[in-house]
Each structure stands twice: as structure tokens, then as C-alpha cells.
Point group: C2
Chain length 350, copies 2
Amino acid sequence: MNRKATALDVAKLAGVSRSAVSLVLNGRGDGNVAKESQDRIRAAALELNYSPNAIALSLRNQRSRVIGILSDEVVVSPFDGNIIGGADDIARSRGFVTVVMDTERDSARDAGAIETLLDRQVDGLMYVTVGLKPIDVPQGMLRVPSVLANCYDALPQPQLHHVIPDEVTGGREAAEHLLQLGHLDIALLAGDEDSPAAPLRVQGYRDAHAAANVPLRGDRIFMAGWDIDAGYRGAMKLLDGVSPAERPTAIMCANDRLAVGVTLAAARLGLSVPGDLSVMGYDDETRIADTMVPALTTMALPLREIGRAAMTTLLDAIEGTDTTGKGTTVETMVPCRLVIRESTGPAPTR
Amino acid sequence: MNRKATALDVAKLAGVSRSAVSLVLNGRGDGNVAKESQDRIRAAALELNYSPNAIALSLRNQRSRVIGILSDEVVVSPFDGNIIGGADDIARSRGFVTVVMDTERDSARDAGAIETLLDRQVDGLMYVTVGLKPIDVPQGMLRVPSVLANCYDALPQPQLHHVIPDEVTGGREAAEHLLQLGHLDIALLAGDEDSPAAPLRVQGYRDAHAAANVPLRGDRIFMAGWDIDAGYRGAMKLLDGVSPAERPTAIMCANDRLAVGVTLAAARLGLSVPGDLSVMGYDDETRIADTMVPALTTMALPLREIGRAAMTTLLDAIEGTDTTGKGTTVETMVPCRLVIRESTGPAPTR
DNA sequence: TTGAAAGCGTTACCAG
DNA sequence: CTGGTAACGCTTTCAA
């Protein structure tokens, strides 16, 4: 627990002044400090295991090379934090570090957390959410370069760049996959009204049907929630006691948990997946979609890419390297990725 | 993006000196500063929306009221981060803030992350892991008060306090629950050899059988991995084509995903849960155990409590309020909690 | 080529 | 009761 070495300690050990230490260690020694002194300084720094005090640095430079990430519940929720992982990848590769604060879904804590981060001189701010959603941008975020990941400004005149998945296309391509397999009666368990993602995925599903000229039965879309039991109940409603001719041949789910519920229901009803029924997930949740039996065909949310894109935009703004002119754009849409596994197959012949 | 107000700005506006501002705003105005000046100062601070610069404060005080949390993969993994949530609860209630860094399972990044945190004057450090495991404590952690949550020092002479779940008791009580329901043939899908938690849970399972005087078949324990498909395969091996008399009447799983796989297998085999087979999970994973059909009886990991206990220990050490003498203890064990839902029931009569 | 000094925003000490 | 000054650790400018 003893004190860390300071630049002064290094200077003393090397027998030079503090300024020399600073110059050398910051690569501006040549032409300012004698070669020999440089070596002594470097040796001393190494010996004392010296690294500059970041606090003093921040105070002096008025910047910290720290990016603050405010999460609604990415940390505490059971959903993976790959947005943060992707953001961190980029930040580290560009010499920044990220620190995360999580408000556990209590947006009343947003402003305070932002202030805390700002008081610590973060050079930029990122707001990240588990699911796509509109947020009230905390005032403080306008004081430094900021970006929104997986969420967007609820105001009509958004002031911050946001990076989100292209849910409509995702929904469309998911449905297209099923359509291409010959399914003509595809039910949709669509999640929940109050998630902005749900209606977008529904839209994509409708678009795919329209484009393929396949008529859409209005009673095939259920706003069913997001959990296993909701998928189970939805599937039971669709399948239990229904004659094969009346059954949908595929069920497209707005997330993977719903698909687990559907698969479970099918098993209880003696229906094989994908023989009798194709089941499609969404999100590609780690350790769910890939390990289900059968493994789930799903539409992967590009979480890592969202994080990377958002951080890239942010750092470009901070470092003024924004040559793409993207600074004027407000929205980046990242495509979802179809992952074909084993839970979907050709429509059964009737 | 304009500069924040400093104490000097406040002083000027109020027509006093910086020191007066500092005294008043830190509650030590009475007896030092004229009542009238105090009011002017407070008014000025409010008007300028002044809050002290945390960086300067840290530099000055040599402490930051920030706790650094280093996570192996709590943030990015699909496992919930309630340890961090619990830790944050306590920290905030005691006037600290937490910042999280995640190394994404790359322990080579540990030391660097710790240095980063240390350079930013964190007052304390917590290392937290997703699953129980031994770690190589990064040297830097010994320089400030530190604690381990859900992990422990791999060395024979541990130097840091750690807080972990009581897995043996958890395993025992899970098995006892099944035993009390009359099950005499309980199979165990035990996870994976290389997790320290697995053998502890197995030990508890054995202990329960010994205490209840129920003989244990050696071929009933499978080190099966941790995922849905592993549970599925394990259950198939145990149940498929096996006569009712030869079948285990309950399967205890080392986590909830395994239990999902088991339930799915049972469904495919036409076995009802819990009628024909009781299924027990472990962990109480949010949105899995509680939403399965049937909802999973499980042994809840006390993640939130672990986080709270670890942070309490840490802050007590930092603030010197450690009156419990716990500072001398190296280990805190937090009990798991049996959560009875619908997947377990009385053993079928034969 | 080197060292001294100023300043980043704060608080604590000590004269006045 | 008040206000000036030093110090926290660093970088940068300027003078020697």
C-alpha cells in the first residue's frame, strides 16, 4: 500500500529535473535532453515502475482519454454486453479507456451519473441500452461529444448521433428466409407493444409477405411478450388441437426466448422441429440460440458492431478526425445477420 | 460545451475569496465565515450551477471516492450482473461511485486495467467474476484496499478477503429438497470438471444422500457441461428407452440451462414434469428459471448479496469503520436460497 | 541542454 | 472572522 513513484522520484533517481523526465517519457526528448540522460531517465522510470498519475494529467491537460459509458441495464441484466465490448475494443485500440456506470433501469439516476462522469473529465459519453428504445437525453451529454448506442433521442429534433440495428430489414430477411423455404403460413410472435423494436420487426415481416405476394392472415400476429412462457402459450394457442391443415408451418419469434417456448410446446404436442414446424428466433442470444436442440435459426443483432460503430463515431468527433462527414449524419443503421441453424427447414408438404 | 464554473467563479460572483467558498460549501462555514457571506456564496454557487471538479478534488485529497470494479466478463457475458448491482447499491448509499472495466475473459488485460484504475486514484478495488473461480490476483490490487467477489486468490496464502456463495450447502439443500419429496433415485448433471463450483455442488449432493441414508448410484453423476444441449443429451441418456423402473425420478442440474435441456428432452419423450420426472435447476437465472414451463425449482445464487457483502467489507476497510473484526477474516460465505417453483414434485409411486 | 516557474481546481493551514 | 498561500503531480514555456 505504499505510494506510487512520481515523476519527481524518477528525476531524483536519474539525477535530472522533473521537466526532463516529462519530455523524455513523452517522446520529445530528442533535441532537448542529452542522449545519456534520456537513457538514465528511462532506466529509472522502469526501475520505479513509474507511470504518470492520470489524475494530475487530466487536471493539467483538461482531458482524460476516458470515455464514460452510461448503461440502462446492460451490466446487470441477463443480456449480453457486446455493445460495450465492441465499444471498448475500439476505444482501447485508439488509446482510450472506457468506464461503465449502470443505472439499473432507473432513469432518474441518469443525470447524476452523467454529472459524476463529467466531473471526472471524461472526454466523451456514450449512452447504451439493452433493447432499442427512445431516451430522454440527459442535459449533461451535450457538454461533451456524445453518442447513443441502441437507443435514440426521443425529441423531434435529435441532437446526438445514434447507432441502431436495422430492425425492419432484419424482420424482413427473417421472414424471407422462411418464405424461401416454401412456408406460406407463417405466424409471428411479435414481442410487446411497448418496445419500439417489435413493430419494426412486424413491419419487416409484412414487407416480406408483400414482396413475395403471399397473403397475410391478420390473426397470425401475436403481441405475446418476450419470455419463454409467452412463447409457449402463443404456440399452444396456434397449435394445440388444430388440424395440420389449419396449423402455421412456421413460427417466427421476435426473440430467442420465445422460440425456446415454442420449441418446448411443439415437443409436448409431439411435433418435430423443423419437420412439422419451423421455428425462427431473433437476437442470437449467446448460449441460447446456439445450444438449443435443435439449434435455433435466428436473426443476429449486431451488438458488437453497434458498439464499434458508435465508439468510432464518437472518437472521430473527439479527435477531429471526422473526415467522413458523418458528423452531419444523425443516424447509423447496422444490418442484422441471418444465422441459419437447424430449427428451420422446408415447409411440410400437405 | 462551455466550461464549467469553478470555485473561483463563485468567489468572484459572491465577492469573497476561494477559501471562503470552499469552507461554506463543505459545511464548515459557521464560525469561519460571516452569515451574510455564506448566503451570498450559496446563492452564487446555485446560480452558476457549481459543483466541485472531482479531478482536482482527487488530486488534492489523494482520494476519489471511486471504487474500481474489474470484471472478467460480467459485463459482456449473458449472465446477469447482479453482483455489480449489489456492490453499486452499497457504494452509492455510502457516497462512493463505482466504475467498471471488463477484460472480456482476457486475464492478460488484468494488470493493465488495474493500473489504469489505480492511476485514477480509485480508493479501492473489487475483482468480480461470472462464475466461482480462482484467480491470480493482479499485483496492483495489493496497493489499495481490495476485495474479491465470486472468486478467490489461487495462492495458498491468500492476501485478500473474498466473498463467495456456499456451494456445498447449496448442493446439499437442493438434493435435500428432492429427497424430502420422496425421490430415491436422483441423477445429477454436474456441469464441468474445470469449474470449481461443480465439484462443490456434487459434494453437497453426496452429503445430502449420506445424511438421509439414501444409497448413491455411482453412474448417476454426469459431468455434462453447462448448456442446453448438454442437458438434453444427458437426459436422453438417462431416460430414452429406459423402463420407468430404471429411470431416475428426478434430475438435479448444476444450472438452469441444463434444466431447460432436460425439460425439453422429457417433453420429446412424452414425460411430464414434474409428474413423471422432477427437474431441478441451479442459479435462478433471470428470465429463464422463472419463465420456464413449468417454472423451474432452483437454487438461487445470492449474487446481489455477494456484491453487497463484498462492497461492505471493502468500504469498511477503506473508511476504517471495520469494527466487526472481519478485517482479519479472509472468507465470507453467502448461503444460496432454495426457490421452489413447479418443476419438482413428489416422486411418482412405482 | 537544462532547470525554474506557472497553472490546472481544490482544500488546509496560517497569518492578519 | 478573513483572505492569501502552499500543495497534490503533471506538462509546458521561458530563461539561463
